[in-house]
Symmetry: none
DNA sequence: GGCGAAACTGGCCGGATGGGCAGGGAGTGG
DNA sequence: CCACTCCCTGCCCATCCGGCCAGTTTCGCC
């Protein structure tokens, strides 16, 4: 591994918002092992805007707690794990999961994370 | 506003290639003013793969039948539904699901679809 | 022909899941 | 004060899930 040339990872910045793009360019410019791409250059990855669409997920009206549970659900956590991570009882975890299934119109926890991911409520 | 604490820019890492994702996570983890997103967290931007390796998902070597099961899994189908849709017995459906959990290194069906989606094996 | 991989089927069992019922406490706003 | 929502907890129960054991057939490859 010592012979690893460790070439810089080339990343292109594809952000519309000038302010955000500028901040990111400044931050990433000082990172060793990383380099911003010249125009037209082949890149390994790109940074794209993940702007919150105002009408995107606002319609779901998930409660803060439900968002917590949903995030853990997306990690494959069981009700028991959710309860431990959130410091609540398994009963309450099941309660929130049930509400999630209802609001997301899902048939099960797997369907719930699929729906949520599809609609951008969570990022896998 | 001048006393703005300059909140960290939250970025989600959405890279299929585990090696590249790991390198980026390491590099970006040490950048002040920047923070990688927790699962499900709202993010300002995302880092996505640019030039995808054509053999990107070839490493998983899922059998054709397993891909069938995986697709149904992503739709929240139960073992019984999978069996009906594929014209096989519930036992066989469970058999394929078990193989999927093993190959995808998942703890459950929900985790399996999350992993598969993250790595681009399936599109939600 | 032998051999491995893939696909398929069966039974069994502990634990997880989902849905139903009931309630209480905290906070907000009329 | 009362109504409302959110969050939390308890119990019961039918079903589902995941993992274990066992077996079969078909196919391609050496």
């Amino acid at each position: 591994m010592s012979d690893e040339p460790a070439p810089d990872i080339v990343i292109s910045l594809e952000i519309d918002d000038p302010a955000l793009a500028d901040r990111l360019a400044t931050l990433l410019g000082g990172v060793a092992g990383l380099r911003l791409a010249a125009p037209g250059e082949q890149t390994a990855a790109a940074i794209v805007a993940r702007s919150r669409d105002p009408a995107g997920n606002g319609e779901f009206e998930l409660t803060p707690r439900e968002l917590d549970v949903l995030a853990l659900l997306a990690e494959g956590a069981s009700n028991k794990m959710i309860a431990q991570r959130l410091g609540i009882s398994v009963h309450t975890a099941k309660f929130h999961v049930g509400s999630l299934l209802d609001k997301l119109d899902a048939t099960g926890r797997t369907d719930a994370v699929a729906h949520a991911a599809r609609r951008g409520v969570i990022n896998l």
